[in-house]
């Protein structure tokens, strides 16, 4: 365990102090405990993976972080302060962006418009000035448009900028969703199974983008993923969940060697 606030990874990235700290989170749906007393932290600049078998409570965990679920017990600490219960849109405005497991894009809008919605939090002018294109409204629109275009370039989706999202194939939709989340310039990016349902080539592309987002934009990322190979390659630290409990936490190598994790994934012989 390192006691210094800042460390440097093998590939030269800097990992800073704790951005998000989850303390003894318990989440229930009626009588079902989806998350049981889980604590872990996410540090500045790292890629943190949450893995576990189906139904382990990974998505619920991500929904707690992004405010879609409110846990019955425990606290979410963000940037050194306990976070009061918040609506998802308030969490988003604090700089936490996310993607969804089953893609939640604005299907009727173009790729560019979708990415532009990610910029909403950066647009300050009020309703009336916007409606009348008064004062700074036009300049603000132009600035945010430029920022959106940079993200579009970054994720190499220039060629589909004006295409309605509904017409895109699955793999590209996933990338557009990433673009929209990135457009918000989040301090914490949550990815719920960014590679689910993709073929090998698409997975490689997505891995490359996730790495360069983390490396070049310095974005802290928490992701859920099923593909163990991908997770081990991408992440700095891994949390393992099973039946709503945390059964492992550490570097990919530590987790790989953890007996409880091996049991959860491969099953145990009961004899």
């Amino acid at each position: 365990m390192l006691d210094a606030d800042t460390t440097t990874t093998a590939d030269g990235r800097t990992i800073g102090g704790t951005v998000l700290d989850l303390r003894n989170i318990t989440l229930r749906f009626g009588g079902v405990e989806a998350i049981k007393d889980i604590s872990f932290d996410i540090r500045e600049g790292e890629i943190r993976a949450i893995i576990g078998p189906n139904g382990a409570g990974k998505s619920s965990m991500l929904n707690v972080i992004s405010g879609f679920y409110v846990p019955q017990e425990g606290e979410v600490w963000f940037r050194g302060k306990p976070r009061p219960p918040m609506k998802p849109y308030q969490v988003a405005r604090q700089g936490i962006a996310r993607t969804f497991q089953n893609i939640a894009l604005f299907e009727g809008m173009t790729v560019l418009d979708n990415v532009m919605t990610g910029r909403l939090g950066h647009m300050r002018s009020g309703l009336l000035t916007q409606a009348l294109w008064w004062g700074g409204a036009a300049r603000e629109e132009a600035e945010n448009r430029a920022a959106a275009e940079r993200i579009i370039d970054f994720l190499e989706i220039q060629s589909i900028r004006k295409t309605p999202v509904g017409r895109l194939p699955y793999g590209l939709k996933k990338r557009v969703e990433l673009a929209r989340a990135l457009a918000a310039e989040p301090s914490l990016l949550l990815l719920d199974e960014p590679m689910a349902g993709m073929n090998v080539e698409e997975k490689e592309d997505m891995s490359r983008f996730i790495l360069s987002v983390n490396d070049e934009l310095g974005t802290t990322i928490a992701l859920i993923e099923h593909d163990m190979g991908v997770v081990m390659d991408l992440s700095d630290r891994v949390v393992v969940m099973d039946y709503g409990k945390k059964i492992g936490d550490g570097t990919p190598d530590e987790v790989r060697a953890n007996q409880a994790v091996i049991d959860a994934y491969l099953g145990v012989a009961h004899d």
């Binding site: 849109y89 919605t117 647009m123």
Partner: protein, 329 residues
């Protein structure tokens, strides 16, 4: 025969103008339905309420005068001033925005995630409630609405068509103004929704609530905004209809005429509402002129729109412009 053709052309033009009115009402429905999935039965009453409020403010009427007088034994009716039309319209817009806020605060925020039919029932209740409030606030007598819009035959068109064809077309000035204002309104709405932050947020909410939340859009704010816009559209429709035939209860029934327009145009399409309104306007006037009056004993305008909507429903359940219904298996 050329005479017959000229009459038909005139009837068609008048139908187009009437259609604009239908479109205006339908537009209010589409806006709210798209953003929140609520079919707002109260849209027609909103138009009535907006028109009554406008007249009341213009004439310097004391709101709830009857109630106040009955309770306190006073006898006040008017403030004794008259408010200029433009200012009165602005004030009415504010009243409609306040109404939008109140409706969301006390009705729909309590009904989040309820079945569409429950939301629909709530709007029926809202319609009756608003109707009562409108009467209580401004009195139930028929009022004349005059914000200075021109009325009567347009002499220029009459003259030009008479010169050209030997038959002068009768086109009402009010219809022309209504058409121009409706066109500007739609243009404004399109620009607003395409090129502003709130417009984009509005489209986002209409598309996917969950995704909208995740990019930091407050659904509540958008709902209040969209109800306010619908209130504004209702005001415009109320002004047009009110100027034409007085502000009275039957104004709220224009909502029923908007239903076939919506079935034709689809509940989710703004262009659909416009084109649907025009088709019905032209359709019912032409049908009456060509078939209804000569062969069916007339008065077909009352039912033509509904029959047309039924026929469309049989062949295209989502309307002419509605989003295609695709069931993924």
């Amino acid at each position: 025969m050329p005479d017959q053709l000229l009459f038909a052309a005139e009837v068609m033009l008048n139908g187009l103008m009437a259609g604009v009115m239908y479109s205006l009402v339908a537009l209010g429905f589409v806006l709210i339905f798209k953003a929140s999935g609520i079919f707002n039965y109260a849209q027609g009453v909103m138009a009535l309420f907006a028109a009554m409020t406008l007249v009341g403010i213009q004439n310097g009427q004391v709101p709830f005068a009857h109630l106040i007088n009955a309770t306190f034994g006073t006898s006040i009716h008017h403030f004794g001033w008259e408010v200029p039309a433009l200012l009165a319209i602005l004030l009415t817009v504010l009243v409609m925005a306040a109404f939008a806020w109140a409706v969301n605060r006390w009705v729909f925020s309590k009904l989040v995630n309820q079945e569409p039919i429950i939301l629909f029932m709530a709007t029926i209740g809202l319609a009756f409630f608003l109707e009562g409030v409108a009467d209580l606030m401004w009195g139930s007598e028929i009022k004349t609405l005059d914000v200075g819009l021109p009325q009567g035959i347009n002499d220029w068109i009459d003259g030009v068509t008479f010169e050209a064809t030997g038959y002068g077309f009768f086109i009402d000035n009010l219809d022309i103004v209504a058409t121009v204002i409706a066109a500007l309104l739609v243009l404004g709405l399109v620009l607003f929704s395409q090129y502003t932050k709130q417009g984009r947020a509005l489209r986002a909410v209409a598309d996917d609530h969950q995704a909208a939340l995740s990019v930091g859009i407050s659904l509540n704010f958008i709902w209040v905004l969209v109800w306010s816009i619908a209130g504004f559209v209702a005001l415009v429709a109320g002004i047009m209809w009110g100027t034409k035939s007085g502000v009275q209860f039957s104004l709220s029934l224009i909502a029923l005429k908007a239903l076939p327009v919506l079935m034709l145009g689809g509940f989710t399409s703004i262009p659909g509402a416009i084109v649907g309104g025009l088709i019905i306007g032209v359709g019912e006037k032409l049908f009456e002129f060509l078939i209804g009056a000569p062969y069916l004993g007339g008065a077909t305008e009352n039912w033509f729109a509904y029959v047309l909507a039924l026929i469309v429903l049989v062949f295209r359940p989502q309307g002419l412009f509605g989003e295609r219904i695709i069931e993924r298996v």
